[in-house]
């Protein structure tokens, strides 16, 4: 196991004026190069937790370390070099008149040279499979393209960690899959990826590790196939395991899964089981 790139120690957080802790004694380590899905009902503390990773929120108690540095002393603008945070709705961030300016915004704030910015623009457009004119107005792009532009403009700051908050909102399955495949490519190149989502089908296709939040705490944490096999516990956290896991449980409860389950893989397992029997 490589060294933890994000480390959370006894993190508690209370929003001002609220009596209940939004996060209650959270401990967590994420290693470099992981692909993690963070799931849980609304209000379970997912967003509060990831906002601590890039310093938008500071711990009420406990500590958060990113690349070994305590986030308490760092501003979000400084953390942006290490952590890219893509918000749920691209329309909350898109402001520029051209695609070029939109992508250049973050790198400019970080003081990148013009040369470096230009090469970044080219790179991230390729990474996000955006075949658009640099002078095009972002508002004229489709919703799916705007989402990818939002990711591109975060990637241009060269963060090694990428956080994506709910990539499915306002998009259909095809667009979500397209985006997630691109994120997968980034992960293959060594980026650490953290995705929060309500779409369990997406989780079972991409994540290798699943963290389940419940009432401000980490409720389950483990390999995707292991977490999704604990369907009763998941239900108490308001999560329904993907149907393939439920089907596997009633048909082949004795089989060790080894890796995440997809319909195709379940069919293969069922097929070999039956042939053996």
């Amino acid at each position: 196991m490589s060294e933890a790139i994000i480390k959370v120690e006894n993190l508690c957080f209370q929003y001002p004026g609220r009596s209940v802790n939004a996060l209650q004694d959270v401990n967590l380590e994420i290693a470099e190069g992981e692909f993690v899905a963070l799931i849980g009902q609304n209000g379970s503390g997912k967003t509060t937790l990831i906002k601590h990773f890039n310093g938008l929120l500071k711990p009420s108690k406990g500590k958060v370390f990113v690349k070994g540095k305590d986030t308490t002393s760092l501003r979000t603008a400084e953390l942006a070099r290490s952590i890219g945070y893509v918000f749920q709705n691209p329309d909350h961030q898109i402001f520029a008149e051209t695609v070029r300016d939109e992508i250049a915004f973050g790198p400019k704030n970080l003081g990148f040279s013009e040369e470096r910015i230009n090469s970044e623009i080219e790179r991230v457009l390729k990474e996000m499979d955006l075949d658009v004119d640099l002078d095009e107005m972002p508002f004229q792009l489709s919703r799916g393209q705007r989402q990818r532009l939002a990711v591109a403009s975060v990637l241009a700051m060269e963060p090694s960690i990428l956080i994506i908050d709910e990539p499915t909102t306002g998009q259909d399955w095809k667009e979500s899959i397209l985006l997630m495949n691109l994120v997968q490519n980034l992960n293959d190149k060594g980026h650490t990826c953290i995705v929060t989502t309500h779409n369990m089908n997406l989780v079972s296709l991409f994540a290798r590790r699943v963290i389940v939040m419940k009432s401000g705490n980490i409720f389950l944490d483990g390999a995707t196939q292991d977490v999704f096999r604990r369907e009763e516990e998941l239900l108490t956290a308001g999560i329904k395991a993907p149907d393939v896991y439920l089907l596997a449980r009633s048909l082949i409860p004795q089989v060790q899964l080894g890796k995440p389950l997809t319909p195709q893989r379940l069919a293969e397992l069922l097929n070999t089981q039956s042939n053996l029997g």
């Binding site: 009902q41 609304n42 369990m200 308001g238 149907d243 039956s274």
Partner: protein, 284 residues
Amino acid sequence: MSKPIIVCSDLSFVYKDSKKPALKNVSFTISEGEFVGIIGPTGAGKSTLCWAINGVIPQIMQGKLKGSVEVKGKPSNKTPVDEISQIIGIVQQDAEAQLLMTDIEKEIVFPLENLSLPREEIHRRLEYVINLVNLDEERYRHPFYLSGGQKQRVAVAAALAMEPEVLILDEATSELDPVGAEEIHELAGRLKKEGKTIIMVEHNIDELAKHADRIIVMNQGEILRDGDAHEILTDVNFLQSLGIYPPQVTQTAFHLREAGWQFERLPLNLVEATQSISALRKSQ
């Protein structure tokens, strides 16, 4: 066959300031009591179709309309929107944008006050719908304090208070968490049992499969298919070609069939799948 309530004939629509038609020669009839699911990728024209049914298109959102939609015999492009709203209730994706008032009771009562109904009648309808959506205890809460699912239930209640015969849910669950989405699907199922006609635009095929009798598949402004829900939702190749994710159990059975398993018909939900696959395993 029961009475037709929405008749759409050869409907085409182009938004103002746009060249590409959002709807192309769309024709269908929906009868009383049906539960129709509309599916298709983004840009298929699903929402445009919903707005055309209740007259917001072309009356408020303007553009060029050809063909016609008739709602209980009334042309939707010429009948005032508030009159159609009493036949067709619509709930959209963005829960917040449809709520205008500072608590649930005021929200439900607002359209009824606008219709100048007598106080007793408003009271009767308010109590009925607020209990139907199970929000009696929250009735004086500001929407700011409600969950996404609760807000959508308020939107449903406000639409139902106008006593429409048809309820359109246009991606009403797409911004909700699974618990919130479940609340809306469960409510839709109950309304179906009460005899309401339901039209549901939905991305989540698993949930849609629970209640829909009929599916209309749209792509790029056209209707690709219109027919029996089970038949269309188990057509894995067809759905995947449109970038739609079929239910996982259906996909599993689909792969098994390719490996030679003899399914009578592909299952659509977990119960069906467990039964049919175990039966086949035993017989092998």
